[in-house]
Symmetry: C2
Subunit: 192 residues, 2 copies
Amino acid sequence: MIGYPNAKKVPLKDSTVSTANRGMTLERDLNDTNEFYLATDRAVIHKKPTPIQVVHVDYPDRTAAKITEAYYRTPSTTDYNGVYKGRAIDFEAKEIKSKTSFPFQCIHEHQIEHLKRVIRHGAIAFVIVRFTSRNETFLVPADRLISAYDKRERASVSYTWFTENGKRIPEGYSPRLDYLRCVDELIKEETK
Amino acid sequence: MIGYPNAKKVPLKDSTVSTANRGMTLERDLNDTNEFYLATDRAVIHKKPTPIQVVHVDYPDRTAAKITEAYYRTPSTTDYNGVYKGRAIDFEAKEIKSKTSFPFQCIHEHQIEHLKRVIRHGAIAFVIVRFTSRNETFLVPADRLISAYDKRERASVSYTWFTENGKRIPEGYSPRLDYLRCVDELIKEETK
């Protein structure tokens, strides 16, 4: 059994790095939405924690563990997964500033590999992309984005491509980003 | 987009704490098995990273990030999930020393809640329990363990209960712990 040392409540404080431009708003909206889905018992979808390699731990007192040396590791999977209507759900979320295009360098090779795998095994896989300058967020089936990625005719896919191949996610108050509505459409389209 | 600072290759070194009795062997066997399932394209199942709250990060050089203050957080989900045969898979793994019983205090309330939720949404949910002193590992459907947990007639379930309610997982060389064979039986039993 893995014992988790007592979780200490700490203020979210990271004095050396501003997270303002780090894609936190889409993450925050997805987090709120997933909590809403959980609270309304509609789905069980979570963001995977960032993998961190712990090298040194101090014990200032016997019950509290303080990690004093650790390093970020590159995840081998996508960031979000869970279950909805009996289906495995798996997706990645990206936020970009450009008004016109989504560069392929935003997607890591391992994320593409992972999405290909879960598709093979029957998950509903997609990518959520937010064009921050337009304040528009799209859900696009992973296989479509992967096709474009594999062909790599250009270094990016255009905003127009998203309007043609993806679905615009309704944004509101509760939930913030109702992406499951788009997933419902994907499920309907599967059965046709 | 979330930028992951370059992952630094570090030796697995934790000088203050021995992980020998921390339930690492079951975790290691499951990790090897999941890698085997991935390599043979049989399933896509991963252990979720331990959630860690990062408080301070140093940048000894511009590309390398060194976390110098962080704390373990209690996970709100189970440790393992993924997809197999079009089904969402979700499970927790526990290792215990006792020969005769599995105390309920090994299971955290949030893990029970999470398992209940994913069951409601159609995932195949179970708990893998290794009796280390007997070198026997069982897979038990989560709903059965939850029933016993909810009734709480005793503070534990016995080893005998596992032999009656769970399935013994075949252990070998490759994969180490072929738990998907038990999952196949669960799937068959569902359709009856």
